[in-house]
Symmetry: C2
Subunit: 202 residues, 2 copies
């Protein structure tokens, strides 16, 4: 069983990459199937060979986003520190480092997509929920360890993990409104300070 050669990207993947880039820049509704095909260098017949509908592409794009970002964060350097709280703070610093350049390049596909589709497509909404909440879940173990170690109570690791995502998603919106990532980085700094205060880290 041999999969596609690494240097030749399949039409399906090219469509998903084009959709990912265009949806982040313009949103889902404003991105037409024809434009995605043109950007991917693929005909419409091929599009509907791989995806039964535009909605199905939306679901697949969210899942593709989950996979690619999952691999990125799994390989990221913030897992290095021995202390769990240090790992959580390193995660925030890593996310802050990514906030650079054009908002369309650093913002979250799932967050953008769910804003438009939460009321009109439950399959897309569910795929975005899985992406955001699934990523938050990867932080829970370290947060739980840090909470036990520092005796933090009054909340849960899950709640704190989801709060980090809320701060980041909100930063994306402010960055889009302001036309640059500076405010999003400030918000990430406030999130870091919250963790430092909550965990008594000087």
């Amino acid at each position: 069983m041999i999969s596609a050669p690494a240097n030749i990207v399949s039409a399906r993947t090219r469509l998903l990459e084009a959709a990912r880039d265009m949806i982040r820049a313009r949103g889902f509704s404003a991105t037409s199937v024809d434009e995605i095909c043109r950007a991917a260098g693929v005909t419409k017949g091929a599009f509907f060979h791989h995806f039964p509908s535009k909605e199905a592409l939306g679901v697949a794009a969210a899942q593709f986003w989950t996979e690619t970002t999952g691999a990125l964060f799994a390989a990221a350097p913030y897992h290095g520190p021995a202390d769990p709280l240090d790992r959580v703070l390193a995660y925030i610093d890593f996310r802050s480092l990514l906030l650079d350049g054009d908002p369309a390049a650093f913002t979250c596909l799932a967050g953008t997509l769910v804003q438009e589709t939460f009321g009109s497509s439950d399959p897309i909404r569910a795929a975005c929920e899985a992406s955001i909440f699934g990523h938050a879940a990867t932080l829970e173990a370290d947060i739980a360890l840090a909470m036990a170690q520092h005796g933090v109570t009054g909340t849960s690791a899950r709640s704190l993990a989801l709060h980090t995502q809320a701060v980041l998603q909100g930063g994306f919106i402010l960055a889009k409104a302001a036309g640059g990532p500076a405010i999003a980085r400030e918000s990430a700094a406030h999130l870091r300070r919250y963790f430092e205060l909550l965990f008594n880290r000087e």
Copy 2:
């Protein structure tokens, strides 16, 4: 010179209200001019009499949002407490109280709108920026007073005010993804705790 009677809402206002509701539920691109007209009980000719383009309606809708929410927050009870920090905490509690029911009913028009349009329409983007940043500015005075009173340094009132907006906007996205406001309220609670810790409020 007599203006329109208070009980008869003008066609222009009905269009803006319909647009506000539909954009919050489905997004800007997915909302057609025809649908807005139908919901407002107004013909297409009347629409283009009041707005030269759909983009102009987007700008007007953001400004209308700024005006109506501005009046709502100006009249809200959180300005009551004598202590500035209490007023800031009361603001967060007030925002948390609003997080109830259907996401389309409590989420921010400007945040939703700017996500889709930041790259394609600078007039709309600027109107959304003015709405979000203008609202944040109404918090700055109280935050600055509280910072001076409690000797808080290392950040600015403006930065903290914008962080509150980031947390709320991010909460909206998580609420849309999850299908309910519970997580958004938890995030608001974390924001409150951040202020309590930062200002040494037990």
